[in-house]
């Protein structure tokens, strides 16, 4: 079992969700985050002051998968997550973490079935 953490562009969320659905990954948890990476931020102003906004809005997905699904999920996110054909700086990262166990709260099921 792995926990896949993906940081993506907010504008690619719909595409990533569709791509994941295609490879039969139906469950995930997402949250709004702010990213700091190679992508340049922009400048904001307020009453004549410039403010550098280096933190950019990103969406973070968290997907628990069985080992068999890891590669397809990665492929799906990579496919759906690219801006344009080539992808753009700031399109984000996927982190794959080992996971020891998974429990479904409702039933108490554990392990692979619970995912």
């Amino acid at each position: 079992m792995k926990l896949i953490v993906a940081i993506i562009q907010p504008s690619r969320l719909e595409a990533v969700k569709s791509a994941l659905t295609e490879v039969e990954v139906f469950r995930l948890t997402l949250m709004d985050v702010q990213g700091f990476g190679r992508q340049k931020g922009h400048t904001e102003t307020f009453r004549g002051h410039d403010l550098a906004v280096n933190l950019l809005r990103k969406v973070r997905l968290e997907i628990a998968v069985n080992d068999a699904f890891v590669e397809r999920a990665i492929q799906a996110i990579t496919k759906g997550g690219r801006t344009g054909d080539e992808g753009e700086i700031g399109d984000g990262k996927i982190f794959v973490l080992p996971m020891d166990d998974c429990i479904r709260i409702r039933t108490g099921e554990r392990g692979n079935e619970a995912i």
């Binding site: 969320l13 719909e14 997402l30 922009h42 400048t43 102003t45 969406v59």
Partner: protein, 466 residues
Amino acid sequence: MKYFIGRLGDWRTTSLVALAVTATVLSLFIFPAVALAQDEAAATASQEQEAAYTLNTLVMFLCAVLVLFMQAGFAMLEVGMNAAKNTINILFKNVMDLSVGVLLFFFIGFGLMYPGGDYEGKWFGFGGTGISGMDMGPAVDATADYSPSADFLFQVAFAATAATIVSGAVAGRMHFKSYLVYSAILTGLIYPISGMWKWGGGWLDAMGFQDFAGSVVVHAVGGFAGLAGAIVLGPRIGRFVQGKSVAMPGHNITFAALGVLILWVGWYGFNPGSQLTYWGADNASITTYIAVTTTLSAAAGAVAAMVVGWVMFNKPDVTMALNGALAGLVGITANCDQVALWASIVIGLVSGLLVVVGIMLLDKLSIDDPVGAWPVHGLCGIWGGLATGIFGTAEGVSFGTQLIGTAVICAWAFFTMLIVFAILKAAGILRVSAEEETRGLDISEHGMHAYPQIQLTEDHVSPVGA
């Protein structure tokens, strides 16, 4: 190099504003002379005339203040009904509609709209810059009905209203500088010219066309100008997906509701104030009669839109009810002085129905009007004009004339503004880039967030079936 041209582009349009400033300086040399010349002319008036002049002037002033307050109402309504990322832009447009509008109406608009008696029955005239017969000192002509300044204030508030209606229809995708150009043209030219046809004593007035407080002259002009803008601009990204209309919910319905309640209140300046002379039991009586028809129609509009929305969408939708109240207000504006009370309720009910139909019609036609400016002001503006022909009791009112007048003014606003927007489009300065639109006009045009401390989500809602 590219940067330099970018700057130039900015300059080309901001120079428009500079022009207004130059005009000011020029006029420095014209006004004082005029003013001084009239100083002595102040006629003596009877005591009754004096009382009438005083009261008319002051009540008109207070009504003008109510109409000016509507600017806050429009700002809140439009902000609330749009995405948070365009808030600064909408607020800015509203403040500028008023500010630029006041200056341009002063320099050009007022003279175009009220060119004076010489242009009776005409299509066009210009009575000069500034406010004729206006002076800082004592009343120039105390036998007049009211002071020229009260008149100007009341009229400029109307002009700003017409301009600001459009703001909502083009929200979320138009360059700010282009909006300034549009706003200047509408308050400086388009609105005063057609306004003159009716209220300036022009040809429509001569024909017997009736529009008491501006269902057509103000609201339909704004509504159809907005429609032209919405069409030329095209819909916001994501608003129509594969021909299917996708809702883009407003970000703060509290602001929207506050806006509508402020507008409702402001309308008591708009309609009753249009009586213009309030002195005497008869005038006072009519003024308040107008307030009652206005109230009944607004209430009926809200109820009708709620019921229709409830039946059609199976849930009571507050945005429909809010639009319905406004629709009722627009519908009664042309005829609030001359319809029976029962008729005012009918007019409101029909307005409430029409606004729902209008919103759905635009969706069918894939036209994106974020706040429903056309359904409310355009469609119900037409309805107000026609309803005057149906329910009106004033002497000489005729459905045929109403039809002609309404059609001509709507067409005028629509086609002239279509051209203006098309030119702006051809010049490449009408619509922001897709990327700028997606990031929101607040950041891309103004480099600011309206709510910098709040993390806003935008993309987590999808149309049913997607």
